[in-house]
Amino acid sequence: MELFVFVAASIMVLAGAIGVVTRSNPVHAALSMVLTLFGVAVMFVSLEAHFLAAVQVIVYAGAIVVLFLFVIMLLGVDKAEDVHTEPLKVQRPLALIVATGIAGVLIAAMFAGRDTIASGRASIDLPTVEDSDANTRQLARLIFSDYVVAFEVTSVLLVIAVVGTVLLARKRRGEKSEVSV
């Protein structure tokens, strides 16, 4: 059963990721990303990170993808771009080689570091509470005790992001739009 869940979720993740890279229409790419994000959320559930799975669906698949779609529609770039003409002939094969290399290096590094993972295991003993929201409770206790400063700083970061975006996207007084979109 766990194997089945893993295989199904990895097919979702990889198919969605390949869709993001290959689909020429940005709207299709955004919808492929939803597939990937849901696959990652399924994996979070099977890794017993229930709170993060919920946040993944709400924040990523909900808010961020909707933001992407909003911007795509607002700018009117929802036409399929021409992905078949490539100005630089070597770019695609080279990028493919580099990406394969990155994957190879990451996997090799992971297998090289497996012993370290095994020795670092269970350095912190957590009380294993066997109720349904144990994960959320542990995470909340950690964030509001050890990471409380970082938590407050992220709220400042979000305010700065909102104010900055409003400033960036606002039409300045007297400025005329040069292209009618």
Binding site: V20, F68, L157
Partner: protein
């Protein structure tokens, strides 16, 4: 017989880490190949998700909830990054017709 054997196999953290590595590589491939600024942002999101996945897999493996706390902060920063990035794209697109990053070459020599 075979079904029972398959049911015995349980995915461990190595499987998740290999998948995260593949997802990260696909994300980098997208950043290197695509020209549309919005799709570039989506590929960066894929890479962030790969890192999140490996954090959670290792948090499970090492029985340490700190990994999940890090993922929480990564989510918040990713949201802020997307908001700022899309704001910049909107500001640029006010002057231009296409979202291709190749057109943004004014600072070139």
């Amino acid at each position: 017989m075979i079904a029972a054997l398959i049911a015995e196999i349980k995915p461990n953290s190595t499987w998740y880490l290999v998948l995260a590595a593949l997802l990260f590589a696909i994300g980098t491939l997208g950043v290197m190949v695509r020209r549309n600024a919005l799709v570039l942002f989506m590929c960066i999101e894929l890479m962030l998700n790969a890192v999140n996945l490996s954090f959670v897999a290792l948090a499970k493996e090492m029985d340490d909830i700190n990994g999940q706390a890090v993922v929480f902060f990564v989510l918040v920063v990713a949201a802020a990054e997307v908001v700022i990035g899309l704001g910049i794209v909107v500001a640029i697109m006010r002057k231009r017709v296409s979202a291709s990053v190749d057109d943004l070459a004014e600072l070139k020599g």
